[in-house]
Structures are given as C-alpha cells and as structure tokens.
C-alpha cells in the first residue's frame, strides 16, 4: 500500500483543532506531520488502509496496515514509561480524502535528535550516555514485554534523545509482535541490520522470540554508539551477508575498538549479542543491574 498523498491543507481539514501543522517525514507506510493541539505539539501519523475493509473495527477482517496501526496505538495506550513514545489526544481514526480512505492517530512529538543522525554527525557516545541509553531503552523493552509484546525494530533511527533532559525514547511501535494475538506479518519484518538471529527464524517466531530478541537489537545499537562501527557489517557486501554475520560471527569486543571503554560495559554489550537467547539476560532487571554496576564501579 502506498503512502497517502496528503498536504497540510488535507491534515487541517481532517483535524480542524490542530494548528501550526508542518510536514515531518515520510517513512514506511506512513506520512507524519506535526501540529499543535490544545497548546501542545504532537506527531500526526497518517496511513492508507486497504480500502476494502476501511472502517471495519473487527480485527480479523482488517487489512495489515490498519491492524498494525491498531496494535501500535494499543501498545502506546498500555505502556507507561517516559522511554516509550506516548499516545496523543487523537486515537485511531478514519477519514476520507477525495474518495481515498485514510487512517490516522496522534502521538507525543519528541523534540530531540535521533541516534542515526547523531551517529552521522557527532560520532560515539560517552560511557555515561551509553549507560543511560542502555537503561532507558531496556526500560522501554520491559514496558512492552509486560504485555507479551516485542518491539522488533530497535535501531538508531527509532531512538530519540530528548532535548529537554537527555532521556532516550523508543519510537515506532508499528512492527510490534504480540505473542498473544494473531500474527500480522507473512514474512520477516524489521530492519535486517538490527535483526536478532532468532528474528530470521520466521516460521518459528512464536516459539523462539521474546524480549531477548529486542535485547540483541539494543546490543547492536549500543555497539554502534560505543564504537562508531556496526558489529556485523565487517566484510559484508550485501544485506544477506550482514544477516549471515548476525547468525554466525562473534564481533570483536567493543573495548578492542575503543580501549577506554570499561571492560564490564564491553562484556555486557557482547553478551547482548550472544547468538543464543539463553546466553543473554533472562530478565531485564538482571540486565539493568549489570549496567548499573558499570556506574557504581566508577566506569561513568
């Protein structure tokens, strides 16, 4: 399904209460605007559903775009942590633009910089920032996992650092995998460079995926933010090569690329990147405790 062709005028017509509407980005199946509602800035997300089923609220008969949007909204409504983007005042709604159905909702507009942009411009994070990043994003993963859900798309482009306080926020729950609900995908989804090994085992995803898959993706992000290098692109000429490396290659310890990195933090990142989930952390609390020890050991 194509990204809906919308202008600021269209958005204004759909949400008359919004002011100062601006185009933000087109990504995946969405087009995103920002707008002020009741004095606060929000992200306004629009998607084009399958017209056959638009407006039908029975999930079993919904198209995948609407189902995903519904799951994204439901997840934001369930979770409550400052490290996960929150829902705005407009829930999942439908509209019609020139005979084309549109679905849309609003979410918190996070003022800040995403880590992809940061990596391009400023390079690596300090140890203190890495510790904060690990604690904040794992908190977001924990919040989602409470509801037996997995984010599945943790990557630098989906993590923002808030300008206001430096907190990290995980965005975009459009690919959330719900272990307790019907599957919405017919093939692997997410960003291959940040896949976990078990994310490739699509046929068995219900049996093999859990929050430890998200911890692996977080490990890849931490590795990049610690060293400036992706752990699995060495010698890779294609996405398939990267996937092969994710499945088979044990990356160099981050401390070998950045010697001033505390050994403990380097080991934690490497452990997140273990091929088998059993070799990562069995709970997010254990992971957070290990990260907090880097802080108390004076590594920060």
């Amino acid at each position: 399904m194509a990204v809906p062709q919308l202008t600021i005028e269209h958005v204004q017509a759909i949400i008359p209460s919004a002011t100062d509407i601006q185009a933000v980005e087109r990504c995946g199946q969405k087009i995103v605007f920002s707008g002020i509602i009741d004095g606060k800035k929000y992200a306004l997300k629009f998607m084009a559903p399958n017209p056959t089923h638009a407006g039908d609220q029975d999930r079993e008969s919904l198209d995948d775009v609407t189902s995903r949007a519904q799951r994204e909204v439901e997840t934001m409504q369930q979770c409550s942590t400052p490290h996960l983007v929150s829902m705005g005042p407009i829930g999942l709604s439908t509209a019609d633009i020139a005979g084309n159905p549109i679905i849309y909702f609003s979410e918190e507009f996070v003022e800040g910089q995403n880590l992809y942009t940061y990596l391009q411009s400023s390079g690596v994070f300090s140890v203190a920032e890495l510790v904060r990043l690990a604690l904040h994003i794992s908190e977001a993963v924990k919040s989602i996992w409470q509801f037996a859900k997995i984010h599945r798309d943790i990557k630098p482009g989906n993590i923002m650092r808030r300008d206001i306080n430096g907190d990290f926020v995980l965005l975009d729950m459009g690919l959330v995998f719900d272990l307790q609900d019907e599957p919405l995908s017919v093939c692997p989804v997410g960003t291959p460079y940040y896949f976990s090994p078990e994310q490739m085992d699509f046929a068995n995803r219900r049996a093999v995926m859990n929050f430890r898959s998200d911890l692996f993706s977080l490990g890849t992000v931490l590795y990049e933010m610690a060293t400036g290098c992706h752990p699995f692109t060495q010698g890779a000429a294609s996405t398939w090569d990267v996937l092969g490396n994710i499945a088979n290659v044990i990356p160099l310890p981050p401390s070998t690329l950045r010697p001033e990195l505390p050994e403990k933090l380097s080991n934690i990142i490497l452990r997140l990147l273990a091929k088998r989930p059993a070799l990562r952390y069995r709970s997010i609390d254990l992971f957070q405790r290990a990260v907090a020890e880097v802080e108390t050991d004076g590594g920060v």
């Binding site: 059993a278 069995r282 254990l286």
Partner: protein, 402 residues
C-alpha cells in the same frame, strides 16, 4: 556450595549425625522410601534444630510415567496415587494444571517454611526434542505460573529428570536452554538418569562436558540456583561449572540415578566396604585396596583427613569391622564437602576450574605413585574415570570459552 544428603531407604540416624558432624548441609527427602508420617515428622523435627539446613522434598512424580514402577510409599501421597500409570495422552493442559496444583499444594500446605524450596513435578525424558521433554517444559511453565499465585510460598525449584543420552547433541541442548531460561523461577533441581547403575561409571566425556555447560548457562549466566541430585565424586566439577549444591546418599543408587531404582530388586550381595578418598577422587575397597596402600606406607596421602579416619588409620583390615555403613556415608559426605570447599575457595570461575584440574592432576599423580608401589585397583575404583573427567572439562572449557 555444599553437599546435601540424598535420602533413600535406610535413613536411620545418618541425617542427624551428618548435621551434628557438619559434613552435609541439607536433605532431599524421598517419599518413595519411607512412610509418609515418618517423613513429615522428620521434616518438622529438623527445621527447628537445624534452621540453616536446606530441607527439600523431591515429589518423585516422574515415577508416575514409568512402566509398573516399584514406587514404594509414593502411593501414600494423593498427588502421586491419583495420577500413577500416566501415558503421553494424560498430559493435556488441564491435567498438567492438576498435577502441578496437587503436588505444590501438598508441599506448601504440609511443610510451609520447614522446607527451603518447593520442588515442581516433572516427567523423565530421553531427548531434548522428544515429546516428553515438551511435557516436562509445559509442567515447568505451569509450575512457575501456579507458584506465583500461592500465598507466601517458599521459592520454587523446577525439577528435571534427563537421560544422559540427551546430551549427545549440542544443538538440542541449546534450544532447550533457550526455552528453560524463559521461566521465572528461583532455580532448578536436576537429576541425570544414567544408563548404567554400576559403580563409578563416569558419564562419557562429551555428554558430561555438555551437562557442565548446561549448568553453567543456568547458574553463572542466568543466575538461577541449581541443585544436582544423585551426584557423586564429579560434584567438584559441577561446582566449578557453577552448580549451587549437589546431593548424594549412602547407597550406590543414591549417588547415580538409574531406573533400576524403580524396578524390582534383583537382590545380590551386600556391597563391599569402601573408603571415600578425597585425594584419589574415588572409593577404594577397604580390603584389599586400602590395606595394600597401608602396607605400602602410603595411607596418609590417601586419607581425607576426617575424624572417621581414626577407625582405619592403624590398619584398614583391622578397622574394617568398625567401618559401618553410617560411618562410610558420613565420611563420603565429608570428602565431597572438603573438595567443594577447595573449589569454592577460589575467587573466580576460571580459578575454580583450574582448581578442579589441579585436583584431578594430583589424583592421577597419586594413582601413579601407588601403582609404582604395586598397589593395584579394581576398575571400579579408578583412575579411568578421571581421564574421562579431564576430557569433559576440556569440552566444557571449549563450549563456555573459560
């Protein structure tokens, strides 16, 4: 780590004496082997007098899916008696819920805080990918779920009874670990079912090395407590791998688990008396082996340095009559405990592994020294099992990267 008493038939005064002599630090009770009223009474007596002791009740539910088991007093327990003779079809979700509920409720309501852990029911399985292993996993998950809803229960150990042959394939071990480490529980009580019940028959090096790795992933990596039941001399290696406690008993069938324990007895002679030698990592026969060592003037190097040594120090043959089953059992616990202390005194896992290597090296040196003095040993005494362990440790080191 410390050694626990693996109870069986003929408990006598061994437990009380073991606590008194400080040679073991807990008990795993066997409902198959003693009357229910006596077992319950013992638990209620031990707790006030030994508050630090780890007392546990192995429900032995796994006997319920054996073919015509010799299950002794197990039929006195409703959680077992209602459910004996179970086949694959008797493990639907609803039935598993009932088995778990009955088994955990019995322990929780009967023993309360007098046991250190509640132990979940399980079934025996031969391979990590067979249908019984899936049933065992379902029972484990159900147990953790049910335990969560109990009112102020003691912590839960998930029990597993696994055939040694299951550790032939590493892929399957890893898959099972992935599933097991999803369970939110305090730890695991693991029994390895041996193919043979013969004395001192070391597990093959590959499977045992993989079992060490299995324990390492559960304990060191995932911070579960792991208690390995029906263990013996190899306990010090399991400790080097990270195991929290091991349990061993007074008869051979309480030191390595085989299905013979649940099959009709074939009778046989009374076993010959053996001495537990920590330096040799084995149990030489009091006569002639220990006597020959004494005559070669090498006895001090073989003794485990316990108070029980006084009985045989001045001549094993002369002291044999005083070397009772109870003394042999206490001396065995003492020897295993002293090895555990050696290993656990090391500050890191790497150092503990090196200490285990050191103990094996010293034992082999001692065997060579004895051999040079024409002391010969029955194959069941050693030292072949040590070579097997050395290979196991290499396998473990390769897998764990330690």
């Amino acid at each position: 780590m410390s050694v626990l008493a693996q109870c069986g038939y003929g408990r006598g005064r061994k437990i009380e004496q073991g606590f008194h002599d400080d040679v073991m630090h807990g008990v795993i009770l066997s409902p198959r082997d003693e009357r229910r009223d006596r077992l319950e009474e013992a638990v209620h007596q031990w707790c006030p007098s030994h508050p630090q002791a780890l007392v546990m009740f192995d429900p032995q539910f796994y006997a319920a899916n054996l073919n015509n088991p010799r299950d002794g007093h197990l039929s006195e327990y409703d959680y077992y008696n209602n459910n004996s003779g179970l086949g694959r079809t008797h493990f639907s979700g609803t039935r598993i819920q009932r088995y778990v509920r009955e088994c955990l409720d019995y322990q929780h309501q009967t023993f309360g805080r007098n046991v250190a852990y509640l132990i979940s029911p399980t079934v025996l399985f031969d391979a990590f990918r067979d249908s019984w292993s899936q049933i065992a996993l379902n029972m484990a998950v159900e147990s953790a779920d049910y335990h969560r809803d109990l009112s102020s229960p003691q912590p839960l150990l998930i029990s597993l009874v696994i055939s040694e042959t299951a550790f032939q394939t590493m892929d399957a071990v890893e898959e099972f670990l992935d599933a097991l480490t999803e369970i939110d529980t305090q730890g695991f009580y693991i029994i390895i079912r041996r193919n043979s019940s013969s004395v001192n028959n070391a597990m093959e090096s590959g499977p045992f090395g993989r079992f060490m790795y299995f324990c390492h992933v559960l304990t060191t990596i995932n911070e579960y407590n792991v208690i390995v039941g029906y263990s013996d001399w190899h306990s010090f290696l399991l400790q080097a791998a990270g195991v929290t406690h091991t349990a061993t008993g007074w008869y051979q069938n309480l030191r390595q688990f085989s299905l013979a324990r649940f099959q009709p007895s074939r009778g046989g002679r009374r076993p010959r008396k053996r001495y537990s030698s920590a330096p040799l990592l084995s149990c030489p026969l009091v006569t002639p082996e220990l006597q020959d060592i004494y005559l070669a003037d090498l006895l001090p190097g073989v003794l485990s340095r316990s108070t029980y040594d006084a009985i045989i120090r001045n001549g094993p043959a002369a002291g044999e009559a005083g070397w009772t089953d109870e003394t042999a059992c206490l001396a065995h616990w003492h020897s295993l405990n002293s090895l555990s202390e050696h290993v656990s005194a090391r500050p890191t896992q790497k150092a503990r592994i090196e200490e285990a290597e050191h103990l094996m090296h010293n034992a082999l040196t001692l065997y060579n020294q004895l051999s040079s003095q024409n002391v010969s040993f029955d194959p069941s005494t050693g030292p072949d099992h040590i070579y097997e362990w050395q290979d196991s440790l290499q396998e473990f080191r390769a897998l764990s990267g330690l």
